[in-house]
C-alpha cells in the first residue's frame, strides 16, 4: 500500500519509507513499502512471523540497507556515515542482546559510554531506569544469571539510556510476567509526548492499548497503515475484546477467509 501517510504534528523524530524493497538472496523480505511515521506518534507494527517486521525495524535502525527505495529517519539515512541520526534512536532488538559475562551495571555503563554520556549522566540514568524497571536488585548480577524477564528489562534499560527521541522496540514484553508487562505499559505512558515509538508485538490487545496507529505487514507488503480505527474499524468500541481484534486482524491478513 504505497503512499500511505498518517500524520501527527509534534516535535521529535519522524521516519519515512519511500518504496522500500529489501531482499535476502532472491527472497523478498519487504516489497515497495511506503509510509511515514510522524514525530511523537505511537505505532504498532504487527504481522505474522516472517512477514518482514524485524527487517523493517533493522532498516529503521541502520542495521540493514534497502535494496531499493529510501529510508529516512529525521530526514537522513540511518545507515549513513554520519551517526547523528542514530544518536536519537533507542533500539530494543529481539531476544536479550546482553553479554553473559558482564553485570547489569557494567552493561549500562557500557551503553552510556557508547552513547556518549558522561559518568554522572550514566549514573543518574542507571538509578532512574533501575527504579522504573525494578532492576535495582540485579545491578551487580551477571547478565547470564538474569531470568528471561530480567534480561529483557535490562536490554530495555540499555535501549532507553540516553533518552532517545525515537524508540524502536521488538517484542518488548516477550517473556515478561503480567506485573512486568504492566510496568512496561506504565513506562510507555510516562514517556514525553515528543518521543516517537514503534512497537512490534504479537499481543494484539496489549499493543492496541499502547499505540494509536498500526502498520500491518504481511508477506513483505504493507497490508494496512493508519489509526487503529481505520485499520480495524470498530476495534475501539470493543477495546479489550481480544477475539474481536484477532478476527479483524486475521480478516485483514487473509481477506479470502473473512466472513
Amino acid at each position: 500500500m504505497p503512499g500511505v501517510v498518517f500524520k501527527k504534528t509534534s516535535a521529535g523524530v519522524s521516519a519515512e519509507f519511500k518504496n522500500v524493497s529489501r531482499y535476502f538472496g532472491r527472497r523478498p523480505a519487504l516489497c515497495e513499502v511506503s509510509f511515514e511515521l510522524a514525530a511523537g506518534g505511537r505505532y504498532a507494527l504487527v504481522g505474522p512471523n516472517g512477514a518482514g517486521k524485524s527487517t523493517l525495524m533493522r532498516l529503521l535502525t541502520g542495521g540493514l540497507r534497502p535494496d531499493a527505495g529510501e529510508v529516512l529517519v529525521a530526514g537522513a539515512a540511518p545507515w549513513g556515515r554520519d551517526p547523528a541520526t542514530r544518536r536519537r534512536l533507542g533500539f530494543l532488538a529481539e531476544g536479550a542482546p546482553l553479554a553473559a559475562e558482564l553485570t547489569l551495571r557494567e552493561h549500562l555503563a557500557l551503553a552510556g559510554r557508547l552513547r556518549g554520556l558522561d559518568r554522572l549522566q550514566t549514573r543518574r540514568e542507571e538509578e532512574r531506569l533501575c527504579a522504573g524497571l525494578n532492576l535495582a536488585a540485579c545491578l551487580s548480577r551477571s547478565a547470564g544469571l538474569l531470568s528471561r524477564g530480567q534480561a529483557r528489562r535490562a536490554a530495555l534499560a540499555a535501549a532507553l539510556l540516553g533518552r532517545p527521541d525515537f524508540l524502536i522496540l521488538d517484542e518488548p514484553t516477550a517473556g515478561l510476567d503480567p506485573e512486568e508487562s504492566a510496568r512496561f505499559r506504565s513506562l510507555l505512558d510516562e514517556l514525553p509526548s515528543s518521543v516517537t515509538v514503534l512497537i512490534s508485538s504479537h499481543i494484539l490487545d496489549e499493543i492496541f492499548s499502547l499505540t494509536e496507529a498500526a502498520l500491518v505487514v504481511n508477506a513483505g507488503r504493507l497490508a494496512a497503515f493508519g489509526p487503529w480505527s481505520e485499520v480495524l474499524p470498530g476495534a475501539a468500541a470493543d477495546a479489550g475484546a481480544e477475539n474481536f481484534l484477532m478476527r479483524r486482524y486475521l480478516a485483514l491478513l487473509r481477506p479470502e477467509t473473512a466472513q
Binding site: G12, F24, G25, A29, R58, T61, G62, G63, L64, R65, P83, A84, R86, R87, R88, L89, F91, A93, E94, G95, A96, P97, L98, A99, E101, L102, E106, L110, R113, L114, R115, G116, L117, Q121, R124, E125, E127, R128, L129, A131, G132, S142, A155, A158, L160, G162, R163, P164, D165, I168, D170, A182, R183, S186, L187, E190, L191, P192, S194, V195
Partner: protein, 286 residues
C-alpha cells in the same frame, strides 16, 4: 500503577526524550572512544569466560611441554657436544627454537580468543544494538580486534617467564628476546585479524574457531609446500607463509618487509571482516 515512578524520588523526570539530561543526552562518539570502550568490554568478557581458562590451559600446557623438551634436548646436546670438545649455542638451541614454538602455540589458542566476538555479536541482537549506536561502524571491528590482540598479548607476556628466567641465569641475549617478541606481536596481530575475519564470516562461534584455525594453520604451513612447487609459485607461497618470517625474527633479524607483511595482512583481514559485516547489512541473511 503504584510504585512505578520512573524518576528518582520526588522527580517527574521522564525516562526518555528531552529532559534535563538533554533529550537525547546522547552524543556522537569518536572512533577512538568506541574502539577503546568496546575493546575494554570485550577483554573483560573474554577473561571471565570459559574460553580464557581453556586458552590459558592450552597455552601454558603446550608452552611448558615444549620448553621442558627444549631444555632437556639442550642439556643432552651440551653433554654430547662437551664429550666431543664442542659447545652448543644456547641462544640458538633454547631461545630461537623455543620462541618459534611459542608462535606455534599461539596459533593453537588464537581461535579461542576470537571465536566469540563478531560471531556472538551477530546472534542475540548484539550487532543490531551496536549498529544502532551513534558511532562510526569501523569501531566495532577495531574494538573487537584490539580486544583479541590484547588477549593474545597477555598470553604472550606469560611466555616471557621461562625465557626471563634463562636470561636471569645468564643464558641467551636480550636482542633475541626483543626481536622475537616483536615478531610474535606481529604474528598475534595477524592471528587476531584473521580470527575476526573468520568470526565475521561464520554464523557460529565454533565455525569461527575452526575457520580461524584453518586460515592461520594454512598460512603457517604454506612454506612447507613451497619446495615441491613450481619456482615462481614456490616463491609466492614462501612469501605468504608465517613460519619463515617468524624464523627470521627469532634468529634476531628484524626485516621491515616482515613487519610490513604482518601489518598489511592485519589491515586486509580487518577490512575484509568489515566488508562481511557490511554485506550482512546489504545482502546478508536475516
Amino acid at each position: 500503577m503504584n510504585g512505578l515512578s520512573l524518576g528518582p524520588a520526588g522527580s517527574d523526570a521522564p525516562l526518555s526524550g528531552p529532559a534535563e539530561a538533554g533529550g537525547g543526552a546522547m552524543k556522537n562518539i569518536s572512533l577512538a572512544r568506541l574502539t577503546l570502550t568496546l575493546a575494554a568490554a570485550e577483554t573483560k568478557c573474554f577473561w571471565r569466560s570459559a574460553a580464557a581458562g581453556l586458552s590459558l590451559l592450552v597455552f601454558l600446557g603446550f608452552l611448558g611441554f615444549f620448553f621442558y623438551n627444549g631444555v632437556a634436548a639442550y642439556v643432552f646436546g651440551s653433554l654430547e657436544a662437551a664429550a666431543q670438545g664442542r659447545s652448543l649455542d644456547a641462544s640458538l638451541a633454547l631461545f630461537s627454537q623455543g620462541l618459534a614454538q611459542v608462535g606455534f602455540v599461539l596459533l593453537l589458542v588464537a581461535p579461542l580468543a576470537t571465536m566469540k566476538s563478531l560471531a556472538t555479536f551477530k546472534r542475540g541482537g548484539h550487532l543490531d544494538f551496536y549498529q544502532s549506536l551513534p558511532a562510526p561502524r569501523g569501531g566495532l571491528i577495531l574494538g573487537a580486534y584490539l580486544a583479541a590482540f590484547v588477549n593474545l598479548t597477555i598470553l604472550l607476556a606469560l611466555s616471557l617467564v621461562p625465557f626471563g628466567v634463562l636470561l636471569w641465569a645468564g643464558v641467551g641475549s636480550w636482542e633475541i628476546i626483543l626481536s622475537s617478541y616483536l615478531g610474535l606481536l606481529c604474528l598475534a596481530s595477524s592471528f587476531a585479524a584473521l580470527g575476526l575475519l573468520a568470526s565475521a564470516a561464520s554464523p557460529s562461534p565454533m565455525g569461527a574457531a575452526l575457520g580461524s584455525l584453518g586460515l592461520t594453520g594454512l598460512m603457517w604451513m604454506l612454506g612447507w609446500a613451497a619446495p615441491y612447487m613450481d619456482k615462481d609459485f614456490g616463491r609466492l607461497w614462501q612469501g605468504l607463509a608465517f613460519a619463515p618470517r617468524l624464523n627470521r625474527f627469532v634468529m634476531g633479524l628484524v626485516d621491515l618487509n616482515d613487519v610490513f607483511f604482518f601489518l598489511a595482512l592485519t589491515g586486509l583481514a580487518l577490512y575484509s571482516a568489515g566488508r562481511f559485516l557490511d554485506a550482512r547489512a546489504a545482502h546478508g541473511a536475516d
